[in-house]
């Protein structure tokens, strides 16, 4: 039998572990204390969360959960003190660490791994859950999409009736969850001018959640997100409570849209690009609104929002700039490619493919990414990372001349090669997978161009 340890002693031990981890330089110590606390006493997480006077809100999605949570934090943090797992540690241990870190926090705001959602929700008993999208992602780790959807249904069924459920109505599987809960907010895009005529290659959830017939899309915005209807049984996008209309894309710099809330319209200008960030902003605004934020607070928060770490970053490196966009699954990478090409197709790109657990050990997903729009403009692709050769093959068989592909597995050497190919005052596009992004940021930080993320997050 385990001896009961007082919560205060557990917390002190876990905080000491965090300090040691930072001193040892092993990488910010973002989950070490949470893991320790988790080992000492799993239910301590429940008790820590129960201390938050305003409760907790959870955010999950295959793509955009870190950005959505950062946007929600930008809206909410003016008024309330947050416990927020900003560095993206999104399993139960990461939530525990954020709870330990934030003394005197009033509200918990946590991004949560898709698969971990039922357990985190069971422990934290959130007052709001925001669910963004379900895309095919790391099948070697999460299993099939259907299994993740099943876990989400479980979490929603167990949710307190008074808790707010905020869902993306443009995603058939996610929108369907609203029908199972009385207090639901449904967001989506309503701007057919921004749509695509057909679904992208890697689109998921093409088949009716009720009867299996392929959906007809009046408009598809990002992957399978859009305005859908089943021609056989009539299952369709639910009515939207919060909408984005009149969207204007401004290349790589910004996107503007009208946010239609139940209590009026607001014009928003985001300092990050792309339709997928409109989805992130809609999710954050809908969640903040459900938590009581005013329209003014939402506008101010979204306007001053700066991209979440590593997801979309511009870093000055001497007289050149790096433009780094994280890629991690087909839907997200398609949007990164679309965003870049809408700005101006790059002549040089460094694409980094690693295959650690956090990247997905199965690299087959790169073959489902529509990299083709990059190919006509590329004079040189620097393929890097542990699976650089595999990435090079993706482009070779996509039609890029083998002479325009440089395989440089070492990330440092690849970055230097890319910078050397970039003219002065020019911008080098970097598309890394998760662990490659961390490593590239570390390389840039060592050269003094950017602070490590745990300092920034503090």
């Amino acid at each position: 039998m385990r001896l009961p340890v007082p919560l205060a002693a557990e917390i002190a031990a876990a905080r000491a572990a965090a300090r040691l981890s930072r001193l040892a330089g092993t990488g910010g110590g973002t989950t070490v204390p949470g893991k320790l606390l988790w080992k000492l006493d799993p239910s301590a997480v429940d008790r820590l969360a129960a201390r938050l006077p305003l409760g907790s809100a959870l955010i999950s999605a295959t793509n955009g959960k870190t950005t959505t949570a950062a946007m929600a934090a930008a809206i909410l943090e003016r008024r309330v003190r947050l416990a927020h797992n900003r560095a993206g540690a999104n399993l139960v241990s990461g939530v525990a660490s954020a709870l330990l870190d934030a003394r005197n926090a009033q509200l918990g705001l946590f991004e949560v791994d898709e698969a971990a959602l039922p357990e985190v929700a069971m422990r934290l008993r959130p007052r709001a859950i925001c669910l963004g999208n379900l895309f095919r992602d790391q099948l070697d780790r999460y299993g099939e999409l259907e299994h993740v959807a099943e876990r989400w249904r479980t979490a929603v069924t167990a949710l307190d009736d008074r808790a707010a459920l905020v869902v993306n109505g443009d995603d058939p599987q996610v929108g369907e969850l609203a029908r199972a809960h009385s207090n639901a907010v449904v967001f989506g895009i309503d701007d057919p001018r921004q749509g695509r005529s057909s679904l992208q290659h890697a689109a998921d959830s093409k088949y009716c959640v009720r009867c299996g017939t392929p959906y007809e899309y009046l408009t598809a915005y990002v992957g399978h997100l859009g305005d859908y209807r089943c021609p056989a049984c009539g299952h369709a996008r639910p009515a939207l409570t919060v909408r984005a209309t009149e969207i204007e894309l401004h290349g790589l710099d910004a996107v503007a849209f009208t946010l239609a809330l139940p209590d009026g319209d607001q014009r928003i200008r985001l300092a990050v690009p792309g339709l997928y960030n409109v989805y992130n902003a809609l999710a954050a605004a809908s969640l903040a609104h459900a938590l009581g934020a005013s329209a003014g607070e939402i506008v101010t928060g979204l306007t001053r929002f700066d991209a979440a770490f590593g997801r979309f970053e511009r870093i000055a490196v001497g007289d050149r700039r790096l433009l780094m966009l994280l890629i991690k699954n087909p839907a997200g990478a398609n949007e990164a490619v679309r965003t870049i090409v809408d700005g101006a197709a790059p002549r040089v790109a460094v694409i980094a493919l690693n295959d650690a657990i956090a990247d997905g050990r199965d690299v087959s997903w790169i073959w489902d990414v529509d990299f083709e729009p990059l190919i006509p403009g590329l004079q040189m692709l620097v393929a890097t990372g542990d699976r650089a050769a595999e990435l090079a093959l993706r482009f070779k068989y996509g039609g890029l001349d083998a002479a325009a592909i440089d395989v440089v597995p070492d990330l440092k050497a690849a970055l230097d090669r890319g910078l050397e190919l970039t003219q002065a005052d020019g911008e080098l596009v970097l598309l890394p997978t998760y662990t490659a992004m961390l490593a590239l940021r570390k390389i840039v930080a060592e050269r003094g161009f950017v602070r490590p993320y745990w300092e920034r997050a503090a």
Partner: protein
């Protein structure tokens, strides 16, 4: 030469980047002066056994596989007749299972298969996930390696005397126990290996193309002109090393 390819259910069975395999076949044929004419064959389309030199079937999630199971059963006679007439067939993952005799799913329900491959598949509790390395001997006396990635809950059991695609050097293979992977019947090959399979195994891509060309010309398969495959060799080397260091084992 025009090589006619029937791609079965491209809308439903495409989970592990099956279009990568098609892209490799298309380019490698083109580099030898052949044209790959790829047509989708989906639900409701007639299966003409003489219309193709190569049939390709990819993998899908359980839901998608269930959606097309009824239709592929209706194409059964056409697929068998095509195979008997020497059409080349490559079936990966879910497609491999569907071309067997039957698939028993997680809930114990039986989905009938095409019955081209002499095997049965039963869904197991744990998925077999990881890098795989095989040793194959498709042409007598010539042993060659195949490197890929597997991710399947199905345990596939070959009938006695059935020919596997290869011997498992590292990874799980058909059922995690027999030491074999895949199945071969003449010019038809089924396998769990994706990755996708063909980019990092160019010899096998060329073997499949040679079988399809043999059907197109009515002659015996002939070796194809070699290509510069340094990148492919490097990707293969890394994939094979992954299998050796972290391929699945019970």
């Amino acid at each position: 030469m025009k090589i006619r390819v029937g791609h079965l259910y491209p809308d439903y069975l495409n989970i592990y980047a099956d279009r990568g395999n098609i892209a490799v076949l298309t380019r490698r044929a083109a580099w030898r002066g052949h044209e790959l004419d790829v047509r989708g064959l989906s639900i409701g389309d007639a299966m003409d056994p003489a219309a193709h030199d190569l049939l390709y079937v990819g993998g899908g999630q359980d839901r998608e596989q269930a959606l097309i199971a009824h239709d592929i059963a209706a194409k059964r006679d056409g697929i068998i007749a095509a195979a008997e007439a020497g059409t080349a067939i490559l079936a990966v993952c879910g497609g491999y299972q569907l071309l067997g005799r039957s698939y028993r799913d997680f809930h114990g329900a039986d989905l009938p298969g095409v019955g081209l491959f002499p095997l049965e598949t039963v869904a197991g509790e744990r998925r077999m996930i990881g890098d795989v390395l095989l040793e194959c001997e498709l042409d007598a006396g010539v042993r060659r390696p195949l490197a890929g990635f597997e991710n399947h809950a199905g345990r596939t059991h070959l009938d006695d005397g059935a020919e596997p695609l290869g011997r498992v050097v590292a990874g799980f293979g058909n059922d995690g126990e027999s030491g074999y992977e895949g199945c071969r019947v003449g010019r038809a090959v089924g396998t769990y290996l994706h990755g996708p399979l063909l980019p990092r195994n160019p010899w096998f891509a060329d073997w499949v193309l040679a079988q399809a060309l043999a059907h197109a010309t009515g002659r015996d398969p002939e070796p194809l002109e070699p290509l510069a495959d340094e990148l492919e060799a490097e990707a293969h080397r890394i994939s094979a090393r992954r299998a050796e260091t972290r391929g699945g084992r019970y």
